[in-house]
Amino acid sequence: MNQSELIEKKRRFIKRTYFGVSDNPLDDVNPFDAWDEFLAAKVKDMNWGINPDAIKRSKIRFAYNFNKILDHYSVLLGLDDILVDLDNDAQTNESMINTWADKAIFPGDKTETENKVEEK
């Protein structure tokens, strides 16, 4: 698998898990049922809430669940990394997914420390 295929696979994985976790039957913030609408929508278009405090709490709950589920698949993406992007309401879901896919450490990815050791 070449680099561009690998990036595409990572993005697809993040897209599918983001969709599923946000569509949690016990805390549903995802109003979409098709990929194109979901990807083109902005972060603020998700059903996070009405009151700014409720929106904040809703995003924290999502970040917690998303982080746990990615970890279950051995994909590491920090809570802060998730929340920072969720705070950028004006970006599209697609743009956020791409950012998360770039930030996340997937099984087989070399960590920063491993890269430094290899460079030496």
Partner: protein, 341 residues
């Protein structure tokens, strides 16, 4: 190229706005106005949202609906932990050019120190990890409803989700009318709970009206706060307070939403109430000891392809009640069709 943010609210197919306002706190006389209205989103970035609203187009009356919030993390920089201590600064309100057109003259600016979240009940453990295999083949054409990984993530989220979250804040609020002639300060703590424990009960009637599987409730948000209010003698409540400057107030808030009908309709409820703990008789007799504000919104996402990055929806929103500092009665029923670019 920067995308301009613009919301066009067209009320062409049956919008209605009804407003009723009680100007004086100690009278029950009400004034009714039926009007058309429309709004334009003029800014939505960096935590600041500004909508331009035309409330009486024939006379050229319009106003600005604004809301902003800035947060700074003070404690809890560990990326592995969800618990944080934040300093939050925010303001929200509606300002009209013609002052007498303002049905909800309430501008609230607030500074908060918040433990967000303070505590949460842990969800179920997920068992051994199952590392993903990125080289495995999958069908990119599968819609989300038929994608096995989406379904698996949805089920795992339901297992791992915490059913109860607690947050806490200490706040100081400045509550004023738009002309700043009536204002007060309120200080106090607030405890907030987000929970899915009551979802099955609350969602029961809506579940009966729902066909789609992926249109479920969001967790219920409940807040209980105490406000020590100073400067109450500078509000229209003053004649009811026996020259007292202070009030002890309980603030209850609730917010919840769920899906109805097919996959694209949602109903949302917001309730915000203020209760006088001093049990002042004059306030009670004037019906001002328990003031509340609520909103009911029904929204439908429309599947109209107007190009990438656009979202179309139709919404009907009903708001009624009283807001600080004066707690003047008012209600607004509005509906509209909007396009988000």
């Amino acid at each position: 190229m920067k995308k301009a943010l613009l919301m066009i609210a067209c009320l062409g197919f049956g919008s209605l706005a009804v407003a009723q306002v009680n100007k004086n706190a100690d009278t029950t006389a009400k004034k009714s106005i039926v009007e058309k209205s429309s709004s334009f989103k003029i800014f939505d970035k960096y935590g600041l949202k500004v909508d331009l609203k035309f409330i009486d187009p024939e006379k050229g009356s319009f106003g600005i609906d604004y809301q902003f919030q800035l947060d700074r993390n003070l404690l809890g920089h560990d990326p592995a932990k969800i618990n944080k201590l934040n300093l939050s600064l925010g303001s929200r309100g509606f300002v009209t050019v013609a002052e007498d057109k303002n049905k909800n003259s309430s501008l609230i600016s607030e500074i908060k120190l918040e433990g967000q979240p303070l505590f949460h009940v842990k969800g179920k453990e997920l068992g051994p990890r199952t590392p993903i295999d990125l080289s495995a083949e999958d069908d990119p054409e599968l819609p989300p409803g038929k994608d096995p990984l989406v379904d698996e993530a949805r089920n795992l989220a339901a297992q791992v989700a915490s059913p109860l979250w607690l947050s806490f804040n200490l706040h100081a609020k400045h509550e004023t009318t738009q002309d700043f002639r009536n204002s007060d300060f309120a200080f106090g703590p607030q405890l907030s709970v987000s929970t899915s424990y009551l979802s099955a009960f609350l969602d029961f009637p809506f579940g009966l009206l729902r066909a789609a599987k992926n249109n479920n409730p969001r967790q219920l948000d409940l807040s209980v706060g105490y406000d020590y209010v100073t400067g109450a003698n500078k509000t229209s409540l003053a004649p009811l307070l026996d020259d007292a400057k202070f009030m002890n107030r309980l603030n209850l808030k609730a917010e919840w939403e769920t899906g109805i009908f097919s996959g694209n309709e949602r109903i949302a409820f917001l309730f915000d109430s203020y209760y006088d703990l001093d049990r002042n008789l004059l306030l009670k007799n004037a019906g001002k000891d328990w003031n509340y504000f609520y909103m009911i919104r029904i929204e439908k996402l429309l599947k109209i392809n107007l190009g990438p990055g656009t979202k179309t929806k139709v919404a009907v929103k009903y708001t009624a009640g009283e807001l600080p500092p004066n707690f003047d009665k008012g209600f607004v029923l509005g509906g509209g069709f909007s396009i988000d670019f």
